[in-house]
Every structure is written in structure tokens, then in C-alpha cells.
Symmetry: C2
Subunit: 259 residues, 2 copies
């Protein structure tokens, strides 16, 4: 289809109801990507939100979304001067697929951090690998992976549940709050580097937009802290081309059981 | 009042509706603590949940809760074999105060981690400080603080937004999913060690229960990664007496502006 901007387009059909067309390119086989679902939901919310930036998004993934028509329903819960909160639901065939609470606010693009951790090392992009299987997601999203985190591809997982890379869209589209929603769920599951294989379904994902990203590629750093009892956490930090932490996420997901 | 067990008691008044009495001891002045609110909401949810453990809780704090009668409303969204999801709302005077999505599941108390980070250092409890202002919270919750993270008390903040300590209730009550909800929001704001002062209102908090905690004191490690533009994240890890990571949280909050 027509790329990320087109794939996140929303059409207001009634008060708090937006028609969307989920693009199968942003998925693996029939399952629509969770981050793309959140990007669509965020775009719908921002149509009528009193604030422009998705400060906090918490989402429960109830059922797998499929390519095709869907609807985003927005129900405002609070509209304050600093923050507004809404319940946002992605619906398909009258079933809720993703339910989210999204807090919007207004970030200052020029804010200088009072305190920040430092970005962990990522090799220069020339040393990174393009892993482009023949699927729609790779045709839309250009990710260059740190080779240290891609051993799982050759059956030699690093043993540490990490995944890192540079991300941008293949179309001209500079980072914003919508793209950050995609970026926090765009890498292969970090547990592929801890011996797991196959699809790792996200149960819950929360992400925070922390700064307005500068133009250019995003650096995406993912890791788990605990893999146990069939569950793992995946934490993503997204850094912009100016070296600022622009988004943080954590999801809880099920460890894949192989193909 | 009567301690944590009594303060989190719920009474079913109708399908999905539970009467509760918010105990002013679990608050500072008139504001009820966010973690205590989540503990009450979790207890209500677990009354009729198909699974016993709150795997993922994402909460938006809409309005300040006050001591006194309140109601928890539970609306199931999905009941699966691995996970069930419900919308849970704390209501007072017909206003929603806290809205949460809670995923429950069943953790195996004997699960051995496939991968785990290691616990960061915490001094032995004998070297930790009791900071017990004359308030209800300190009468109910026994926290012993790492002195390295308490410089802010004497006007000498460490400069790093961290806070660490051991936590248990003063009543006989061994850790469970309800107490973990309290533990992830029980420390003073980490930004007190980065020069901020005063109340730091939580806007959104998500926490995950990762293992069934062993009896004994909990170790609670808190830190921020970015303080910028009036916002900070606070990440808490809770470790049990057996040295296992039992809970993880991140909240996004507003930096206090002093008194």
C-alpha cells in the first residue's frame, strides 16, 4: 500500500469515532504489528486532542488485528491544562482488539534535560546489518541492526536478551509521536537472543514520549531484564539523531515456543 | 485505622462493583497514595478474577483520591486461559479517580528464571535509615532507606535521581500481589535526589508482577532515567528476600515545584 503516512490516515465518521484501514504491510503474515496499531490509535486521538504529544500510552492487546477496515473509538476521561487522558479502543468486526489509555501533553521542543542517562553504545550505521526478509514490514521500515544482537539469525544467540538498531521509514517521514509508537515495537523480540524462537505475543505495552525527536534516524535499544515462567519484559529506549532520549517503553509478552 | 489488610478490604455490592473505605493512613495529608489505590483496586479485581496474579497493571491517575468511602468498578474485557484483562476504575463521589487496565495470569511459584539481571547493591539493613515522619504512611509501612539515597533530607541531594530501601508492613502480612502494588509507589520521589522538592504527582504508572514473592522484607530500588521539561520517569524494581525480581514498574510524573 502507500506507506506509513497513508497507513495511519484516519477519517472521522462521528464524535469520537474514526475509520481506518489497517495495512497488511505493517504486520507479519496476517497479524498486524502492535506498534503500528498504536500509531493508528494515536493518530486518531490527536485529531481532537487538546495537546499534541502522546506522553503516556498503556495498551492491552486483547485480540490479533487483521489487515483491512477497522475503527478507533476515543472516549475522553479528563482534559487538564498539563495533561489530557482518553480511553482509546481499536475495534474490528465489533470486537475490541487493543484497548489503551493515552495521556497527551505538550512537550517543549527546546527543553534541556535536568538529568539524563547516557545512550548505550551502538556501532556506526556502516557496521550495522540490514535484515530484510521478504515481508511488508521490511519494505516499509528500514532497520539496521547492531551485529552483536543478530547472532540468533545464524542459530548463535548472544545469550543476552538484547536487540539494537537504527530505524527510519523508507518514505520521507521525519520522526514524530506517531512514528515513535511504531518504533517501540518494531524490533524482533529480544528473547530471540536468549534461545527462544517464533512469535512472542505482546500482552501489554506502555510507552512514554519524552522529547520531540530531531529529524533523522532513530536509535532503538531493546532489552529484557527477566525471562521466567513463559513471560518476558522488553524495554525499549529510543534516541534521536541529536542524542536525546525521546521515548521509553516496556512491554510484557509471552516467550515464543518456536515454529 | 486497622492496617493494610483492613484498608484494602472490599465488599461486593453488585456485579462488578465493590465498596471500599480508603484509609487516610495510606496517604500524605489528604491525598491517598497511588500505590495504595492500586492495591485496593487489585484486591477488588481478584475477588472474581479467573487468575490470581496481577501480571500487568496500567493506571492513569485522573483526580486525587481522598480518605473515605469509594467504589471499585470492574469490567471484564477478555478472559483467556493464559491471561484475563479487565478495566478497573476507582470512583468517589461519582467521579473516576483512577482508571486502570489490569491483566491477571497465573505465575508458577517454583519457576526458575531463564534469564535475570542481577540485583543492584543495597547495604545490609542494619546500615539503613528509618525515616519516619509523623504521618500515617510511616506508621503502617516500615521502610529502611539506603543512606546513599537520603541526602536530600539534609539538603544534600546525591545528584542522581535514585531511592532505595527495604520495605515491609508493620503488621504481620507477607508479600503478595496486593502489597507489590503498594511497594511500586511507596518511596519518596526519586527526583528529590536531583534537586526537586515537594509533591510529585503521578500521571501514569504501569507495573508488572514477575514472580510470587517469598516471605520477608522486600528490597525496593527506584531510579529515573530522564528528568526534563517538568516530567520524570520513576522506575522501580522490587526484589524479594530470596533475591528474585518480583515486580517492575515505571511511572511518569510531574517534577514537584517545592512547597
Amino acid at each position: 500500500m502507500g506507506g506509513f503516512a497513508a497507513a495511519t490516515a484516519v477519517r472521522r465518521v462521528a464524535e469520537g469515532r474514526y475509520a481506518v484501514e489497517l495495512d497488511g504491510d505493517f504486520g507479519i503474515e496476517q497479524a498486524i504489528n502492535g506498534g503500528y496499531s498504536l500509531a493508528v490509535m494515536t493518530r486518531a486521538l490527536l485529531e481532537d486532542s487538546p495537546h499534541p504529544h502522546p506522553i503516556a500510552t498503556s495498551a492491552s492487546f486483547l485480540r490479533v488485528a487483521k489487515a483491512g477496515p477497522a475503527e478507533v473509538r476515543v472516549e475522553p476521561l479528563k482534559a487538564g491544562r498539563t495533561a489530557a487522558v482518553a480511553r482509546v479502543t481499536l475495534v474490528q468486526n465489533d470486537q475490541a482488539l487493543v484497548e489503551a489509555l493515552i495521556t497527551t501533553g505538550t512537550l517543549d521542543g527546546d527543553a534541556a534535560p535536568v538529568y539524563s542517562i547516557e545512550q548505550e553504545k551502538l556501532p556506526p550505521i556502516e557496521e550495522c546489518l540490514e535484515f530484510a526478509p521478504n515481508n511488508g514490514f521490511a519494505r516499509q521500515v528500514d532497520v539496521r541492526y547492531d551485529p552483536a544482537t543478530m547472532g540468533w539469525l545464524d542459530g548463535r544467540p548472544a545469550g543476552v536478551p538484547e536487540m539494537r538498531g537504527y530505524l527510519r521509514l523508507r518514505e520521507p517521514y521525519e520522526p514524530d509521536g506517531i512514528l515513535l509508537a511504531l518504533a517501540v515495537d518494531a524490533l524482533p523480540p529480544v528473547v530471540l537472543n536468549a534461545g527462544a524462537s517464533g512469535w512472542a505475543p505482546t500482552v501489554e505495552l506502555t510507552w512514554h514520549m519524552r522529547a520531540v525527536p530531531a529529524p533523522g534516524r532513530l536509535a532503538v535499544h531493546g532489552r529484557a531484564r527477566l525471562v521466567s515462567d513463559g513471560w518476558f519484559d522488553e524495554e525499549i529506549e529510543v534516541w534521536d539523531s541529536a542524542g536525546r532520549l525521546v521515548a521509553q517503553s516496556r512491554q510484557i509478552a509471552r516467550v515464543g515456543r518456536g515454529r
